[in-house]
């Protein structure tokens, strides 16, 4: 519904020389540089900006700021689609595309407004009372309709092309808000020598001063302060930067918006930057938000906050109407009335209070505007736009101070005023959100009918309207004091050299002396008229009444039952009114009614901005072996293994993992292969007590391990479960080299450090992580020793010099190598460690030297399968539940010495004979396969319940030519030779198998000792 354009010819902080083109619902429009989407729309006469959530009532802009509940738009197209953005904070930039929301087929002609007709049925919490039948699954029938009606804007499943950055910042003093208080604080703290960060969510500095005329004295003051702040090297000003939340330890999260720069992601330019800022001291100067009044049909387009009308007028040169009624319960909105009148708007002031300050009365008279005192708004006329208001012309003395609200019928005679703009002011609510995030609840002040911060953490201060000081002088004074105190707290005491301009004569209203509010929380009662408390979620006084009747009277219950305060505005214009009305219904004072919990973020923030650059492949760090690039360059296919990227299989062996791993296995069993084990945890352990230390952490004995020998070890956690297995080699009297599994390396390292530093501080042992320092590879197969002889000529690698479980350290071409002869695969094998920088050199050297023997590299899949054939436990067997006994390793537990986990390992259930323990399983049905995750049963069992065990790891055995597996089975190897059933109902499979010893090949270990 469009009317004549409302842009004033003069004034405002807009650049009339720069037109900005944008589109609304596909229709091209234009505004001026400096406009928000809201001001541009209002200038174009567009007042219908959306439809409300439940009743689909036509709505206009209520505010000019972040508290906007009605005017939400979907911006952008494609991957840049962004729903629910408040038009009042969107900076108008060229090409902006905006869509109104929640109307079908359009916001102007919305068929869904039919819900208004059934409104009585849709009162608060109606869905709890119905949708239950007729059958149990009824909700699943109704839910899709509810879901489609819910939500305001629409998200799209397309990739966001924009880029977001995160940043860490530090400051001596962080000042949140650049209104008069914040600017004064910044000046004082900056002059005192502190490193200051001043964060302002708006694109302009000034805060409440921006409500004043752009050419008045406020502007001069603002420019002087701003220029001094810009000149200080120790002051950083962040515009368009919203403080999202206050976190413990003086940490504040902020988001800086850069859309106005039209950032190009292809050039690495970010759309938004999330800043984690740690400040020694913080000044909160976040200002206050104006409250609506609650009266019938207070949601009509054209009914807005008085300060919003003033902002559109003075900042954007937009008169939101030609005939305005300003209805108020406090002094502050008179400034709006006077400013509107000065710009040619016909103004009537309806003051709810019984008496008004003489100076204001006189000024109103001087501007020939009608001032009605002691009145109430009973109704607003008009549908898609305001047409007029009905006022109670006079109120009986009994009702004069009543907060109960009364119906149209009960009012002493009424008057109708034609108007197209209603400016309402129910008072101001300090923005106590941030200070409350830390858990300090706000407290209520009767004198200003508002909540103020209940306190501050050490090093945190408040100033200005946020503390309930609503005069300009107080804001400046408090700002200076807070700036000084915060700078001093952070260690900076240099006194200011010249005084901050202390006073400021403003054209209208002066530095207001008082606020003089008389809160009237509720104007109208009555069955039919809708008096809105929460505009976005369509919560009316009637809903509050119902909630009260049903007992949902606590703040939390009220909120959740009515959904009040749960919209995108998080109750910025509704919470206090609701609280006060509920207190009235309950007959308690406001502080006794409780407070809402304030939670971050202060305003909604893009999830992508919080994620920053930690997306896609960078979602989590990639740990790569030193041989990573070599693998990729030589036909290697990689696979994720926790944070590591490991070599899975090579294409020389096959095109798919299924074919490749078999070839690689065959190679190792018949000739020789080389594999990369650099990811294994490696820990250096040194000291005269190192042997004792190892003896304590491992279940088996390590004190008598000879120099030059390695031993397989298992360590438990205190509760007796297996923590990790690995091999520890004694390199010298006091020096050991421990390997761990890849997955547990970090946990084991921290555990060893924990024991040494908190429990066994008398042990003289040092541990250091070598995982990233050394590359590791294994040469395995019958021809492994031959390969070493070719690769390391002149070094004795014979069985005598390097026996099974032996270790030698040599230097080859000046490069240190550590060779440990042990085997995971079951073949003759050697682990070779070399400093990481030489990893590739050694690897290629081994492959080159071993070429005549047929050596090729093999990967993780084959490695995992080889060890299954050998019956080594790994991965899925070590699941933090299994004990030594479960894994068939009970014999390793020393009887001579204490070790970590010894006692709790012996708890009754951990020793129970019916526990599931490690077995080998071979498939009895050719043509079928075994699967990991199968549940095992005895053939006589009913196939239901939890069975007797499950399969952990499976491979095709090239030697046995059948599928084999490791698993856990009730009673374990007692059942060797017995037939079992492997059930896999997810695929409808059942396979016959047999329990065997887990060592499928070379049980005598002859190949290892060759």
């Amino acid at each position: 519904m469009t009317r004549k354009p409302f842009r004033l010819p003069l004034g405002g902080r807009i650049d009339r020389s720069k037109r900005v083109g944008f589109s609304l619902d596909g229709r091209p429009m234009s505004g001026l540089h400096g406009d928000t989407l809201a001001s541009a729309l209002l200038a174009n006469g567009v007042t219908l900006v959306g439809r409300s959530f439940k009743y689909h009532r036509p709505r206009g802009f209520l505010s000019a700021g972040i508290e906007e509940p009605n005017g939400l738009f979907t911006l952008g197209v494609g991957g840049r689609t962004e729903p629910n953005v408040a038009g009042t904070v969107i900076e108008l930039i060229e090409g902006l595309s905006a869509q109104r929301q929640n109307g079908w087929p359009s916001v102007q002609f919305d068929l869904m407004s039919i819900t208004s007709l059934v409104a009585p049925l849709l009162s608060a919490g109606f869905y709890y009372k119905t949708f239950m039948g007729p059958t149990r699954g009824a909700w699943m029938f109704y839910e899709p309709f509810i879901r489609r009606a819910a939500g305001l804007g629409r998200g799209v499943h397309e990739r966001d092309p924009d880029r977001y950055e995160t940043r860490h910042a530090f400051a001596d003093v962080l000042i949140i808000g650049a209104g008069p208080a914040g600017l004064s604080a910044a000046l004082a703290a900056g002059r005192a020598g502190a490193r200051v960060v001043l964060a302002e969510k708006d694109s302009l500095l000034g805060g409440s001063l921006l409500l004043e005329s752009a050419t008045g004295p406020a502007d001069g003051w603002l420019r002087e302060i701003e220029s001094e702040l810009e000149s200080m090297p120790n002051v950083e000003i962040l515009r368009r930067t919203t403080a999202l939340g206050l976190y413990d330890g003086g940490t504040v999260a902020l988001v800086e918006r850069r859309e106005h720069r039209q950032p190009d992601p292809a050039q690495g330019e970010a759309r938004q930057v999330v800043i984690t800022l740690r400040a020694r001291a913080i000044v909160f100067a976040a200002g206050a938000t104006e409250r609506p009044l609650v009266f019938a049909n207070n949601d009509r387009p054209g009914v807005m906050l008085a300060s919003a009308a003033r902002s559109y007028l003075n900042r954007f040169a937009v008169a939101c109407g030609k005939r305005a009624v300003v209805v108020t319960n406090n002094d502050s909105s008179y400034a709006a009335a006077f400013d509107l009148a000065q710009q040619g708007v016909a103004v009537v002031i309806a003051d709810m209070r019984g008496a008004v300050d003489g100076a204001l009365v006189a000024k109103a008279k001087a501007q020939t505007m009608e001032l009605i005192v002691g009145t109430r708004v009973l109704d607003v006329l008009g549908g898609n736009a305001v047409k007029g208001v009905i006022l109670a012309a006079a109120v009986s003395p009994a009702m004069a101070h009543s907060n109960a609200g009364f119906s149209r019928e009960a009012a002493l005679h009424t008057r109708r005023f034609d108007c197209d703009l209603v400016c309402m002011s129910g008072g101001w609510s300090p923005a106590v959100h941030l200070t409350s995030h830390g858990g300090i609840k706000p407290r209520y002040r009767e004198d200003i009918a508002a909540f103020v911060p209940g306190g501050y953490a050490a090093g945190q201060f408040g100033a200005g309207a946020m503390t309930g000081s609503f005069t300009l002088q107080a804001a400046i004074d408090e700002g200076i004091e807070a700036g000084r105190l915060s700078a001093s707290y952070s260690g900076h005491d240099r006194p200011a050299l010249k005084p901050v301009p202390l006073s400021l004569e403003l054209a209208s209203g002066l530095a207001q002396e008082g606020y003089a509010i008389e809160p009237f929380w509720l104007s109208t009662q009555g069955r039919c008229a809708k008096a809105f408390v929460d505009f976005q979620n369509d919560v009316t006084v009637k809903d509050l009444t119902i909630a009260h009747q049903e007992g949902y009277t606590s703040v939390e219950h009220l909120k959740r039952y009515t959904t009040l305060g749960m919209g995108t505005d998080q109750g910025k214009t509704s919470n206090i009114n609701a609280l006060a009305i509920m207190a009235g219904l309950r007959g308690v004072e406001i502080p006794g009614a409780g407070t809402t919990t304030f939670r971050p973020p202060f305003t909604p923030v893009a999830i992508g901005a919080l994620a920053g650059r930690t997306i896609g492949k960078h979602f989590r760090p990639m740990r790569c072996s030193p041989l990573h690039d070599w693998h990729l360059a030589h036909g290697g296919e990689m696979i994720e293994a926790g944070p590591w990227i490991r070599l899975w299989y090579y294409r020389w062996a096959g095109n798919t993992v299924e074919s490749a791993y078999l070839q690689e296995m065959r190679l190792v069993r018949t000739a020789v292969g080389l594999t990369d084990v650099s990811t294994l945890g490696k820990i250096d352990i040194q000291g005269p007590d190192a042997a004792e230390f190892l003896n304590r952490v491992y279940v088996n004995g390590f004190a008598k391990l000879p120099v030059g020998k390695a031993r397989y070890g298992v360590m438990l956690t205190d509760d007796g479960a297996v923590l990790d297995d690995g091999t520890t080699t004694r390199l010298s009297e006091n020096r050991y080299f421990m390997t761990t599994t890849t997955a547990q390396a970090g946990e084991v390292m921290s555990w060893l450090e924990f024991l040494l530093e908190t429990a066994w501080t008398d042990l003289k042992v040092h541990v250091a992580s070598l995982t990233d320092e050394w590359a590791g590879m294994v040469v395995a197969g019958p021809k492994a020793r031959l390969t070493l002889e070719l690769a390391l000529p002149g070094h004795d690698v014979s069985d005598a010099k390097l026996p099974f479980m032996g270790c030698i350290e040599i230097e080859a071409d000046g490069v240190p190598l550590r060779l440990i002869r042990l085997s995971f695969s079951g073949e003759l094998a050697y682990e070779i460690y070399v400093p990481a920088d030489y990893g590739v050199a050694l690897w290629t050297h081994m492959l080159a030297c071993g070429a005549p023997l047929g050596i090729r590299p093999y990967g993780l899949e084959a490695l995992a399968s080889l060890r299954i054939e050998k019956g080594h436990v790994a991965g899925l067997e070590l699941d933090h539940r299994n004990t030594l006994d479960d894994l068939g390793l009970a014999k390793m537990a020393s009887k001579e010495k204490a070790f970590v986990g010894r006692e709790l390992r012996q708890r009754a259930q951990l020793q129970a004979p019916e526990r599931w323990s490690l077995v080998g399983i071979e498939c009895l049905e050719s043509g079928k396969r075994l699967r990991g995750g199968s549940i095992l049963f005895s053939p006589a069992d009913k196939i239901e319940g939890h069975g007797r065990g499950y399969i952990t790891s499976v491979t095709w055995s090239i030697e046995l030519e059948k599928f084999i597996a490791l698993g856990l089975y009730q009673g374990g190897l007692k059942h060797t030779g017995e037939e079992i059933l492997c059930s896999y109902p997810l695929k409808g499979e059942q396979v016959k198998a047999r329990i065997v010893a887990p060592m499928f090949i070379d049980p005598g270990g002859e190949r290892l000792r060759v």
């Binding site: 976190y247 330890g249 940490t251 205190d718 450090e753 530093e757 908190t758 006692e903 709790l904 012996q906």
Partner: protein, 88 residues
């Protein structure tokens, strides 16, 4: 939340790994009393208020520290190296 590491200075808590109640006395190695071990491993005071606890500076010096923190407010004290705190 910030933790002051005695080696590295004031750092963000996300550089550290929580290690549990530091007032729990680890049984002397070799203790055979299973109840003592059970209580040490499985039971917690879990106070709402002052708590003395272990943290490890895993993304820094890797030292284990002891510090006092109020679990109801997250106000933390200065920390000590664990081995120094134990020997006090």
């Amino acid at each position: 939340m910030r933790i002051t590491c005695p080696v590295c200075g004031e750092r963000d808590f996300s550089e550290f790994r929580y290690g549990g109640d530091a007032t729990k006395q680890r049984p002397v190695h070799g203790t055979t009393d299973r109840k003592v071990w059970h209580d040490y491993v499985f039971l917690f005071d879990n106070p709402k208020g002052p708590h003395r606890e272990f943290w490890q500076h895993v993304l820094g010096c890797r030292q284990w520290l002891v510090l006092d923190r109020n679990t109801a407010t997250n106000v933390t004290s200065a920390s000590l190296l664990a081995r120094k705190a134990i020997n006090k």
